[in-house]
């Protein structure tokens, strides 16, 4: 019985990991400065390293790839959780405005603190580590607003949920723009680039800042993965099984917002990953969340790495924010889902 799902899952995961490795390979070898696999391996293994290769790999491409992977992983998982909790296949942290809420709050943070902290180089560390916390606050505020506006007759109305999310997203976007305009011009540029979802100023510091969040929260989410299966039932049945629905949903939602904030704080708002990845994951692995979550994470990784590769190279040397590439891929998929779902 379960073996059917399990073998399907392992086959698909193998394929996905293959795809991720391929994407990483393409990403690391191509660009303004092409390198061969041999160059990369020798550089990584520290066999006669050259400064040139070191710079490209360790300072530019590798941190980018790592960040892209982590962001994709986080958004893929958070998307699957949000869809599971809301029982809404069109829900996505980006569309619902959680990204934008986290983003606005981080912009406000940049506005108030960055200026002072930027003065002494060492305390920049502190600010980068604090950023996700601010993002978390904004994300929670957005989630609360969505609940207030979309909650009717004791349940979340599917369509209203999305529309409220879009509105909240627009509102936080306007707020971010407003705050960022008050910044000094150098900060402003950084903020605008960052807001449209990009990872080109990737560095190892960001990676260190986001990793603790992912390490703590993702296992916590995965431990509750089986509950997401039960959440597919209707409310009365879940309660009758003795599941503390509200409490468990709140824990899962807050954990996902934490993951999202960590992602948003390094890459800005990248929408649609949390929508597309869980869908494809369900197509591939079925309805069991202990399989869907890892698959969704892997698909998210692949999508972000690949999109970032496109963003970096299509119009090189000009860079396109990766968020825009993802949106162009994501919108047709969203419309396709909208056509498919029953009204």
């Amino acid at each position: 019985m379960h073996n059917k799902y399990r073998s399907r899952f392992f086959i698909n995961m193998t394929l996905l990991i293959g795809a991720i490795l391929l994407a990483i390979y393409i990403h690391i070898t191509n660009g303004t400065f092409d390198m061969s696999v041999k160059d990369i391996i020798t550089t990584l293994l520290r066999m006669n390293p050259t400064n040139e290769f070191d710079l490209v790999i360790f300072q530019f491409r590798l941190p980018r790839i790592v960040i892209a992977s982590l962001v994709g992983l986080g958004l893929g998982i958070a998307g699957a959780v949000v869809q599971g909790i809301t029982r809404n296949g069109l829900a996505d942290p980006g569309i619902l405005g959680i990204n934008a809420g986290a983003g606005a709050s981080i912009v406000i943070f940049m506005f108030f603190f960055q200026m002072e902290l930027a003065v002494s180089g060492s305390s920049n560390w502190l600010s980068i580590l604090i950023m996700p916390i601010f993002g978390f606050v904004g994300g929670v505020i957005a989630a609360i607003l969505i609940y207030i506006f979309a909650w009717t007759n004791g349940k979340l109305d599917t369509q209203r949920l999305i529309l409220s999310g879009i509105a909240i997203s627009t509102g936080f976007g306007a707020l971010s723009l407003y705050v960022s305009l008050k910044m000094r011009s150098s900060d402003f540029e950084m903020a605008t680039v960052w807001m449209s979802g990009s990872i080109y100023h990737a560095n190892w510091m960001f990676i260190i800042a986001m990793i603790p969040w992912l390490i703590i929260l993702i296992p916590a989410i995965y431990r509750k993965a089986h509950l997401l299966d039960y959440f597919q039932l209707e409310e009365a049945s879940i309660k009758s099984l003795g599941i503390q629905v509200e409490k468990e949903k709140a824990i899962l939602l807050l954990s996902s917002i934490g993951v999202i904030s960590a992602c948003v704080s390094v890459s800005g708002s990248i929408g649609f990953i949390g929508l597309i990845a869980p869908h494809i994951a369900r197509q591939l692995t079925g309805i069991h969340h202990r399989y869907v979550l890892p698959a969704s994470a892997a698909i998210g990784m692949f999508l972000v790495i690949f999109s970032d590769y496109l963003a970096r190279t299509i119009f090189a040397p000009a860079e396109i924010p990766v968020g825009i590439i993802v949106a162009i891929l994501g919108v047709p998929y969203f419309l396709y889902l909208l056509v498919k779902t029953k009204a």
Binding site: M1, Q232, S237, K239, S240, L241, G242, G286
Partner: protein, 266 residues
């Protein structure tokens, strides 16, 4: 026999802003089949859901085996009491056996695997509800009657001594209605399960119940045996019908074989 297993005291429940009933008290006797009847909107489903802690009461208490339910964890309650809701939903790709295994949730410590005890109970639930034949099918492939039996099996897998059923026969054809009720009867007789259900069909209620609770406009009009409730004056008061009643010679339960609507009363 005759011990009270569930006691509701001065319950007030609101649905949104509308108070469905207030200060309602009721008792459910151990090992009996109790059926709540009444016209649409009288609050019978709401009462069942409040007893089953699906809806939260505004005030009042529900006692389960003389213990206040507010003080028992929801998981502990789920080991004693299962509720089959009126419109259950499940993902269509879910397999029957898996859905039934969801019923084991309150008993499971390790979420990964089912224990042999879990397996045993699931087999038993499928056996009683005769759902073994399609255990490997997906929910999407089942007929309405089959689905209802699967849902019943999931509630049974909770292994509780009390079963609450909210209109278990709605949307089913005559044969399936009877089949579901016979399963319920068997559970009661052979496994001394206490059953509380909401039914629309008063003849079914009369035939399968030990006790009836007749409700109207958020109040309990009267409580008693089918012989007492399925009577001209009670039906007139509760449903506003002029009923013709006889006794079924096969099983001695009262049967309403025809009725006329009475003029609306002020």
């Amino acid at each position: 026999m005759g011990a009270t297993v569930i006691r509701a005291e001065k319950l007030t429940t609101k649905y949104e802003k509308f108070t469905v009933f207030s200060n309602l008290s009721a008792e459910i006797k151990k090992g009996k089949i109790t059926t709540i009847i009444g016209p649409n909107g009288c609050g019978k489903s709401t009462l069942l859901k409040t007893i089953g802690r699906i809806l939260k009461q505004q005030s009042g208490d529900v006692f389960l085996q003389e213990q206040d339910m507010k003080g028992i964890s929801t998981k502990a309650i789920a080991k004693q009491l299962a509720l089959l809701s009126q419109n259950p939903e499940a993902p269509l790709q879910l397999r029957v056996e898996e859905l039934i295994s969801y019923g084991r949730f309150p008993h499971r410590k390790n979420v990964g695997t089912l224990s042999s005890k879990d397996m045993e109970v699931i087999e038993w639930a499928m056996d009683i509800t005769k759902t073994c034949a399609f255990r490997n099918r997906e929910i999407a492939q089942l007929s309405g009657g089959q689905r209802q039996k699967v849902w019943l099996a999931m509630a049974l897998a909770q292994e509780t001594s009390i079963l609450l059923l909210d209109e278990p026969t709605t949307y089913l054809d005559l044969a399936h209605q009877l089949e579901v009720l016979q399963i319920v009867e068997r559970l009661n007789k052979e496994h001394s399960c206490t059953i509380v259900m909401v039914l629309h069909d008063i003849n079914h209620a009369a035939r399968f119940s030990d006790e009836l609770i007749a409700m109207k406009n958020g109040e309990i009009i009267t409580v008693g045996t089918p012989e007492k409730i399925i009577a001209k004056d009670v039906l007139k008061e509760v449903f506003n019908i002029d009923a013709r009643i006889m006794v079924d010679p096969e099983n001695q339960s009262p049967v309403c074989y025809g009725y006329d609507a009475l003029p609306e009363r002020e």
